[in-house]
């Protein structure tokens, strides 16, 4: 099947509007473009602001940017946070992983026509299936509610956290919270195991409602993670091919704008991940749960192809790994100590920091004047990095849908579900 005229899939569930996929006829073939407006350029918000405000300002990009910006301040002021502060930031980071992944899974589960199917309709045969999905969505939201509570305890708020500041965190935890955090960690692990089981056994397997996620595939791409303050690049087989400190980012990663999309694209420059492969979009790489996967393969993924199903399984594995670590970390002894922050004594002029956020690698770099006013800022984050992979996934979903003679609605649904996972 071919499309003779330009076809638009818009808007797409779970994507920031205006976001659309336009399929344009191209010499008897079709080319799919993922066009996103993207959020504001971080420079618009940050330049001219006092540098200590960055954690709060950048938190509107994602809650993990708050932690990345706090790490940037640590570097700028050359201070090492006390252990208790590191633990609190780390614990907040764990809860944010759960919040992010569970929100994505929830959107994946929502009924495409009715987000809140009526329980009373479950008596009717047609409504029964929706009610079952609704109960699963409730399990996901229960876990999400607990993760949000943990994030609010540790970060002041779950969506735009507040507490990470230069050299540490802004306050000690109240006594009541120690017990509550332990309860949350235990409950989250139990729920996450349940969620992983029903996704793996009922939804993603052959014949399951999300099996289509394994049908659209792209060639695998290199991956990058932030590991011990460095950016580590692996090739398609999972072999480490390069690592560099965050301040080398401009030499290793370029960010460009395509005229047909506001959202910028980040790509690895030649030499950052071995020889250039001469692809249509050279240097495309991937960050996030798939990049964090251990080479020992916690889930079944392939070296020769990459599917949204792989991304979903990686997200589920990431959820379990995070929930397990939460049970170790969310203990009173990790949150008590003599100090919550190291007070800086002098300020540098430039700093870089990298953080492994829930959605993947975040690199921040900033220069400041003598009064600590931001003069320039560089942000390389999953929104830009995974944009290239998302474009390829959009192309694959459209091509696969057209080859199978799928309807417009069906192709749209596949696009939405697969883009959600990257």
């Amino acid at each position: 099947m071919t499309m003779q005229e330009t076809t638009t899939f818009e808007p797409l569930k779970g994507q920031d509007a205006p976001c659309r996929v336009r399929v344009v006829p191209d010499d008897g073939d079709q080319r799919a473009y993922l066009q996103t407006t993207g959020y504001l350029d971080p420079a618009d918000l940050c330049i001219g602001r006092a540098v200590e405000e960055l954690p709060r300002i950048l938190s509107i990009r994602s809650p993990a940017h708050h932690l990345a910006a706090a790490r940037l301040l640590d570097r700028l002021f050359n201070v090492e946070p006390p252990d208790i502060a590191k633990n609190m930031r780390n614990a907040l980071g764990r809860s944010l992983v759960l919040c992010r992944h569970l929100r994505k899974l929830h959107l994946l589960l929502l009924d495409p026509n009715d987000p809140f199917p009526d329980h009373r309709a479950s008596a009717k045969p047609a409504g029964r299936r929706a009610a079952v999905a609704h109960r699963r969505a409730e399990t996901v939201m229960h876990a999400l509610g607990l993760a949000q509570e943990a994030a609010a305890i540790l970060g002041g708020r779950s969506d735009h956290p507040l507490t990470a500041i230069a050299g540490g965190v802004s306050r000690f935890l109240k006594d009541d919270y120690y017990q509550r955090l332990t309860e949350i960690a235990d409950a989250c692990l139990e729920l996450v195991l349940k969620i992983e089981a029903f996704f793996r056994e009922d939804l993603l397997n052959e014949g399951g409602p999300l099996h289509h996620l394994s049908e659209m595939e792209i060639d695998p791409v290199p991956t990058a993670t932030a590991t011990e303050g460095k950016i580590v690049v692996k090739d398609r087989s999972g072999k480490v091919v390069g690592d560099f400190p965050p301040e080398k980012t401009p030499e290793k990663i370029s960010v460009r704008r395509e005229p047909w999309s506001y959202l910028p694209f980040a790509s690895l420059k030649n030499g950052a991940a071995g020889p250039d492969t001469g692809e249509k979009m050279p240097g495309v790489f991937l960050v996030g749960p798939l990049a964090r996967m251990d080479n020992e393969a916690e889930t079944e993924t392939s070296e020769t192809r990459l599917t949204p199903s792989d991304a979903c399984r990686a997200m589920l594995a990431d959820l379990i790994r995070t929930a397990e670590r939460m049970t170790d970390l969310y203990k009173k002894e990790n949150f008590v100590g003599p100090a919550i922050r190291t007070v800086p004594e002098k300020m540098g002029a430039e700093a870089w920091a990298a953080l492994e956020g829930p959605a993947g690698l975040i690199v921040l770099g900033a220069t400041v004047d003598g009064k600590g006013i931001v003069e320039s800022i560089r942000v390389v984050d999953p929104i830009q990095i995974n944009n290239g992979v998302r474009c390829r996934i959009a192309e694959a979903a459209v091509a696969e849908g057209l080859a199978q003679n799928r309807s417009h609605t069906d192709i749209k649904r596949r696009l939405e579900n697969s883009l959600l996972l990257f």
Partner: protein, 323 residues
Amino acid sequence: MKPKIAIVSASGCRACETTMLDIHYGVSALNRWAEIQFWPFVLGSSMADLERIDHLDVCFFSGAIATGSDRAMAEMLRKKCDRLVAVGACAAYGGMPGLKNLKKPATAEAADRGDLPEELALPEQENRVRALDGVDGIDRVDAVVPGCPAPVNLVWAAVSALVCGGEADARITYAAARLPEEMVRPILSGLGPPPGAVFAGEKAVCATCSRKKEEKRFKAVKRPYQAYESTGRCLLEQGLICQGIATREGCGGLCTGVGVPCRGCYGKPPATFDPGAKMVSAISSTFETEKPAEIQKIADDFVDMTGCFYRYTLPAQCMLMKG
């Protein structure tokens, strides 16, 4: 018949919009009260769907107006909705995206896109970020739920007042939301909230902040990275720029409670005309010294007052012309 509602987000981070999902699972089943007709982020509803809808009872609109699509959506929703509710600081005051207005409008990027085929044209970026009621075709918003993000308790208070008709455990809801008596009474009596109701308090954040106020003398400006007491003492009294005095209450002093100064995401209280002017006035009137040189020294230590005092309200507060 259930009220027909729309949930929409323009340019923003979606935290306010996803609050609706949290409310449904954590507070009350929304499908019991309303029929959701239009929700691009969750249902994938398009502008064509909106054009087909004749009438909506309530629209919860979050995000700032930053693109042509945002503007078109807002204008159409105003025409079709009985009640348009601005949810969150971005829709109510322009929010943090409004800081972009401090920059000169960029034209270079638009020029780069000159030879783009028509079918791949992108929505136009507006020259200025605006609040919802800063758009030409929008003469009013019917209610405001402030905050960045708007908290669940206040959004639920607005939903139960505007959608559930005050039936949904209303007394508990309004008590939890700490709304002023003058606003709660008409809602409970069935009249609904007064026009332009702001689902938050009427006083300043200081009224609900748990920090101890001891001595109103301002000695020196401190930046949050510098040393200050980790006790429960008022942050402003310690020299940190905290905007609690020029910000509407409703959050319960959330930021100050965790030791972080307020930045004004609930907008100004009704008794304040301009939050920046109020801050300058309040701080300068409590300078401890009267010596001009020392006053000058303190004044020099203030940095980025515009970006600080109008962090969430620049488009609503500092842009007098609509457009």
